[in-house]
Symmetry: C2
């Protein structure tokens, strides 16, 4: 593979090289990359804004994260926040800090992932900043979305009696991380051993190539469902549930047996001799949607196999509880992703 040094382009040249093929997809994107700021038009809608900072060594490990996947995921995690507001993602800005160890070809891989996600979710890359970093790769994405007035769904509006639901399945991304960390360790100790990840494509895909739940957002729209509260699951189910309970001043009861976990994730978890439920509760990065709906909307939900009802909302005084398969009740605690790793 050829290697072009970034210095051959200079900052403006590099931005131009990486953004020259952008075709704006949204009518609201009036002006994109190349000026002091981008311009967005509105038609009586509200704009939703979300931002994330991703830092090498903290949020990702380049020894097992392909740059194209990283670019894709950088967009997905922000777009996921927009869907979690019940809004349509429309634009992103992307800033990167890069050290000279990156070649132009490596950056092209990263941007190809960014563009793949932009196409999949219908968002326009409209601006950003490119600068040098002394150490490590730094990525900052801000996503904008639009929503009709009064259709935004917040975290703070769950009500007693509502059903607690999640999309897809949980815990897979965390188990994928365990595999990649294990194989990295083995490789560092004995480089001649090839990584054995063949049977773990599902969980590794969950970590490296997460999807934002555009389909669930569209299902809501088609079936005229407006969740009473919603957020995306980036830190594990427990932490997010507690967050909704705190913000909404309610409690909840969830059932262990109702938490959706794929067969692939279960098998993989057992190889590590860890409990798949613990991975769903305290792992993270699944980017599924956690939401509450009114009981009246229950019938509509049964149309969608990608949605699981896992419990219900109770009064704040009752706290947040999980009923285990064995019939016990435990208070939910937020260990989160970080606690797991330390």
């Amino acid at each position: 593979m050829s290697r072009t040094e970034i210095s051959e382009y200079g900052e403006f040249g590099l931005i131009h090289h990486l953004t020259k093929n952008i075709e704006l997809q949204n009518a609201s994107s009036v002006l994109g990359v190349g000026d002091d700021a981008a311009v967005i038009d509105h038609f009586g809608k509200q704009t939703v804004v979300s931002t994330d900072l991703l830092i090498e060594g903290v949020h990702f490990d380049l020894s097992y994260t392909p740059l194209k996947h990283l670019g894709y995921k950088s967009v997905v995690v922000n777009v996921s926040d927009i869907y979690a507001m019940n809004a349509t993602p429309t634009q992103i800005t992307l800033s990167i800090g890069i050290s000279s160890k990156f070649s132009v070809e490596a950056l092209e891989d990263f941007y190809n992932g960014v563009y793949a996600a932009c196409e999949e979710y219908g968002v326009d890359l409209i601006g950003g900043d490119t600068c040098s970093s002394q150490k490590g790769f730094i990525i900052s994405v801000t996503a904008l979305g639009e929503v009709n007035n009064n259709q935004v769904v917040q975290r703070s509006t769950a009500q007693k009696g509502d059903l607690v639901c999640v999309s897809g399945d949980l815990g897979g991304a965390y188990i994928g991380l365990l595999f990649l960390e294990r194989e990295k360790k083995i490789f560092l100790e004995t480089p001649q051993i090839q990584p054995d990840l063949e049977n773990e494509q599902y969980v590794i895909g969950r970590l490296l190539k997460p999807r934002a739940r555009k389909d669930i957002f569209e299902f809501f729209e088609e079936n005229k469902i407006i969740p009473t509260s919603m957020m995306d699951i980036s830190d594990g189910l427990s932490s997010e549930l507690l967050h909704i309970c705190e913000k909404s001043e309610v409690g909840c009861v969830i059932y262990e047996e109702k938490i959706p976990i794929s067969e692939d994730s279960k098998k993989a978890a057992y190889k590590f001799e860890i409990d798949p439920t613990a991975c769903a509760l305290s792992g993270g990065e699944d980017y599924e949607l956690l939401f509450t709906i009114k009981q009246d909307d229950y019938e509509k939900l049964t149309l969608n196999e990608q949605i699981s009802v896992i419990g219900y909302v109770v009064e704040a005084e009752e706290g947040a509880t999980i009923k285990t398969k064995g019939g016990n009740s435990h208070k939910l605690t937020a260990q989160g992703w970080n606690a797991f790793r330390e």
Copy 2:
């Protein structure tokens, strides 16, 4: 001074602690910090978006940059981009990556600077992300602004015959940097020597506490001036002029004697035995506005002492030229900030 470890708060606790006193100033800021995304309302206006990434060791040096000033400047550099589009800044998001060397008190200083700038420029902090960094302080700000349809001013629309103008004075920030770098070097070599910066408050202030030209934006509005092109000067006058020329497919002639440089900056430059004009052309971080106007608007400009007409726009074939005080003509070249430092 007391020192509170960040770990005492946890991520959500820290965000809450640093953002709990925010009072939203703009009617369009419907929902601020605390959900997956913020929500902005519109009334038939266009939204302008700009973003910047600031990295310790690349964009700032904490050994001589007070954190409060850094917080203030982080907002100003983005707000400046919004004014450079002829738009009113309305909201910002702020993401920071911090290592454990920072105390909560240090972060409070930083946020106090952020809030001071938010108040001065009337913008609301509506969201962000806080995460750990293995090394160095990382700041990402995205600013949003609004503008009436058809009043956005781009870089690409200067026309032959227009007058080239700049606000304020140039070169000061770069000279301020020279002083601070010199004193840092002296201090590292002989720590007992106290820094001698007393007479250089102007140029040091230009670097550490730049202002965005809200007043110029308001002057345009009051006097019904819409520049034909505009950008803010972050990389030095030469680089920015060449940028407008390239984007607008024009050339320009500017006069060295017309470039505004303060007496304080001149005196300071002579101490370093460097040419103040070179500092204005190739230094940076002055955050003044560079713009072009139609000749018909010239009379209106004379009302404002903060605006200097430095030249005029010519056809692309004539290139970009500076006429020196000695009567010579030189092609403008973009050395920029980085070239100066290396």
